[in-house]
Symmetry: C2
Subunit: 128 residues, 2 copies
């Protein structure tokens, strides 16, 4: 059934641990959708994260140089603006390619076995 050639067929090594994490995936998607950057509180609301959580994940992303943090003041308040770095953007897009591959693999497979419930996941199907 499975041949030697299939070794690692589904290993998906491109799923970078830094990126492949729900909260950080949220953050990065938010940031790629807002190329001019987002203030901490907006990001927090978009991602549905607590303060502490967002802070920690931003630290990780910043450490990995996937996002940059610009700390300043606005309306007499401290304000951190988060942006995606060019590196971050590149790596995120690479990651998305792998993610796309996962979805495609799974959709093809699920389609092939007839046990129903696969509507809208056929890779050739466009969403409504």
């Amino acid at each position: 059934m499975t041949s030697d050639r299939d070794d690692g067929r589904f290993s998906y090594e491109g799923l970078d641990r830094i990126i492949h994490e729900r909260a950080r995936l949220s953050v990065l998607t938010s940031l790629v959708a807002h190329p001019k950057g987002l203030p901490f509180p907006d990001l927090k609301r978009l991602c549905g994260l607590t303060d502490g959580n967002l802070s920690r994940h931003l630290a990780v992303l910043s450490e990995a140089e996937l996002v940059s943090l610009e700390k300043g003041f606005s309306l007499n308040r401290t304000q951190t603006i988060c942006r995606m770095t060019p590196t971050g953007r590149r790596r995120f897009i690479g990651y998305l390619g792998v993610l796309e591959q996962v979805v495609r693999d799974a959709a093809v497979a699920a389609e092939r076995s007839p046990e129903g419930g696969v509507r809208g996941l056929d890779p050739a199907t466009k969403p409504a």
Copy 2:
């Protein structure tokens, strides 16, 4: 910029922690591609996992009743056959829907900001 209506816009709560993990994502994708089940060693090779790793992840998936483990004998060897349960299949497909949404959100956003490198990720583009 972001309105109240956007709260949680990118929170992706459907990214189930049990499923959203590289190794288990591998396992589930392998299993959905092999509806008749896979023996432990084949699964291990497909996913590029060590024995211990696969064992642990299977325990988690089995505990959550996303996969079933059938332990038996074949050719005088112990053999565990792993299958996806109907529940597992349903939940995995649900998860895939969310994953698809992530890819689509990100692709749209990345497309919209002009800084290049987005080839092949446009949601309207089919792979070659």
